[in-house]
Amino acid sequence: MKKLINSPENAVNEALKGMEAAFPDLIKVNYNPNYVMRADAPVKDKVALVSGGGSGHEPMHGGFVGKGMLDAACPGAIFTSPTPDQMHAATKAVAGEKGALHIVKNYTGDVMNFELAAEMLRGDGIPVESVIIDDDVAVQDSTWTAGRRGVGTTVLAEKLCGAAAEDGRPLAAVRDLCKRVNSQARSMGMALTSCTVPQVGKPTFDLPEDEMEVGVGIHGEPGRKRAKLLPADEIVELLMEPVLKDLPFKQGDEVLLFVNGLGGTPLLELFIVYRKAAEIAKRVGLKVKRNLVGSYMTSLEMAGTSITLLKLDEEMTTLWDAPVYTAALQRGI
């Protein structure tokens, strides 16, 4: 295992120390329980946005804490959902009278730990709502699975709801927006390589030189199926097809196209992917009105990409353009 770490046990905490040192004006970090919060939290008259999940997905979520996005983020161990006391403490630290929205990715562990935290918070009299993001079309949403995973849409939901919260909207409105974002977005990902969980020390799976995993999530897990490696354009077709089929995207719809890198894929390749994805969107009559290209939701050093398509409306477009100032996304501030 080749990593710039000191020990697997301390990696998450040391990275938090680094973030804290790099962004003293932007964030504060609490240890044990671990959470990252806006330096100016609690912000008066604003719904608090709290998210969290396993570590290893950086910059998500800690990199999205700041004005116009999250109020707090709870990082668990690598690929392990955080514990309820983290969300409990973080939410108490940032929530004001308008309450808090938990944005939760749909993984059994995340959902259960956030649910336990929400119960604790309700006991404390803090209004909490939760929205579960489940946008991954690689997984069938049926009684045969734990439901669709929460992937790329999470980043978009955090940005859009962050802008809405900054705008002073009430909890129910921010929650409903989050649900709407989730219902109008779909994602699909693929991997060229596995990744190595520090505590494990070896790649989670072996992948021959001429094969790829299609339908991966963000936890270094194998995908829905293994396939022969293809040229980038064909891979993009493969990812776009189920995304386009799943949502009733109609001719003329305006969309946000998000091409995400899984950590080890250079920007050069992401732009090659974006080029083709935008071309396909255009071919099927969609109007790509906004976009995001970069490694925003990663799986450690995994090489690969995921594509997210969000059907935009005017409100969402305005919220997308609203100022944001976080470690990983900055605009207009």
Partner: protein, 211 residues
């Protein structure tokens, strides 16, 4: 032996810390195949945190031991297994409050309410390829039969658990992370079923050793 004591339970919890530290890599390897390669690390992090919390306890009733373990697991593990095993102990604690002895019948009741907690939280049915596939058969085997000693019943439960863990191999997962793999999850043992079997085996070993 007709009942188990607080001392037994404490010894069991300490043994679990040792067992999960020893089986950390095996469990993580199982999770690497159909999950996210953290189950061993999670179980080790959680159970190794329990003994230091038991040390200073004033109330060493079984309920108190269970509740302390529950809260430790919930606050240390994360993932799916943290809340699930945490809930198991939290529910069991309700029936063991103030008690320093548990008969086999009482142990079964604790087990039952704990397992119900897991099922309520995780919504898994038998055959979904989860820890429930081990805990269910183990509980059935633990139920007292005429003339049983606790040791016999526990040995029966442990071997039922072991068998049930192996029986998850051909199953296709319908709950948890492994369900994302669909058909690709068949042919691998569920990591949570293995950790459940280890818990049962550790309890049986504790009681046998002290007999």
């Amino acid at each position: 032996m007709k009942s188990i004591s607080s001392a037994h339970v404490e010894a069991w919890l300490r043994l679990c810390a040792k067992v999960f530290s020893e089986h950390k890599d095996d469990l993580t390897d199982l999770d690497a195949k159909i999950g996210d390669a953290d189950h061993g690390v999670n179980m080790d992090r959680g159970f190794s945190a329990i003994p230091p919390k038991l040390e200073p306890l004033a109330d060493k009733s079984i309920g108190s031991l269970f509740r302390t373990s529950a809260l430790t697991l919930i606050s240390q593990v994360g993932g799916a297994s943290g809340p699930l095993y945490g809930t198991f102990f939290l529910q069991a604690a309700r029936l063991a409050d103030g008690k320093t002895e548990l008969t086999l019948e009482e142990l079964c009741e604790c087990f039952d309410i704990g397992l119900t907690g897991i099922v309520n939280l995780g919504k898994a049915s038998l055959g979904d390829k989860t820890m429930v596939d081990v805990l269910g058969p183990a509980l059935a085997a633990l139920r007292p039969q005429s003339g049983d000693s606790i040791e016999t019943a526990l040995e029966r439960a442990a071997s039922a658990a072991r068998e049930a863990a192996e029986a998850t191999i051909p199953m296709t997962a319908r709950k948890g992370r492994a369900s994302y793999l669909g058909e690709r999850s068949t042919g691998h043992k569920d990591p949570g079923s293995e950790s459940s079997a280890l818990l049962l085996e550790a309890l049986t070993e504790t009681i046998k050793d002290s007999a």
